[in-house]
Symmetry: C2
Subunit: 154 residues, 2 copies
């Protein structure tokens, strides 16, 4: 994993342009070590781009319930927001997260978790994004977040 | 890792009581799959209990800078808050995180990251915790958080 070099991967801006056309989302998530490692991917499910975090026993925070560690849900929610911004807007840099607020609504069960981000405002410099995460029932989210991103730098 | 069973580990309440006395913090962080997996541990450094996240290349979010993924910092900050509550208060359950707000202040470099949590208010049911994370210079935090935890359930 540490042998991946820039020479074998197109620059991110080019990769994002390609993925916007080809919808081979896996190429994008594979280019980011931490999302690849966490099993977080982007999929087109029933015509909608969703983020999925595959369940892995190492993601358990509380072994007794058992429940997913809150940190894994934070990573999923933030990643969903970044991918939504990269794929739905014209930004060609990785947006920089400024702040992230997560409300933990229900325990995460030991199973796959989905997330969908909505860009609620896109300015020239800053974007606001809302994200929901759920498992069995989309109407009963297990976590929700709002995040601020810096889109470009002076 | 998935073979760890409750039979080989004391119940968490008992483990926490033991660690409060013996200060063998590693036993506690090893009992939580996700923190063990993320290389997040608790250490007594110069007479102060700090949380440390060991650097690992898989924790990179942006390979170009390179910078740690925000999700890894969120996991560190949340874990530091949980360990502080477990070790400094009388709660014997794992506190349940209700909400977490993270301000990302500087890019996380590819090196170890430290965190220190402060319980700013402990009520009967809810605790408020503030957490700072830094690398080279403690006076220049790379992220800070405030979190709400539920300490017990009706």
């Amino acid at each position: 994993m540490t042998t991946m070099s820039e020479s074998t991967t197109p620059p991110l801006a080019e990769l994002v342009r390609q993925v916007r056309k080809t919808r081979e989302y896996k190429r994008l998530t594979d280019a980011i070590p931490y999302t690849r490692f966490m099993g977080i991917g982007v999929e087109n499910l029933a015509g909608e781009m969703l983020c999925r975090m595959a369940f892995n026993p190492r993601n358990i925070g509380n072994s007794l319930i058992p429940a997913l560690h809150g940190g894994t849900l934070g990573a999923l929610l933030e990643s969903a927001a970044v991918f939504e911004l990269l794929l739905q807007t014209n930004t060609e840099r990785v947006p920089k997260v400024i702040s992230l607020t997560v409300d933990f609504l229900r325990s995460g069960k030991p199973q796959d978790t989905f997330a969908k981000a909505f860009v609620t405002r896109q300015g020239r410099r800053v974007a606001n994004v809302r994200v929901d995460a759920w498992q069995d029932d989309r109407t009963r989210p297990i976590a929700s977040a709002h995040a601020l991103f810096l889109l470009s730098e002076p």
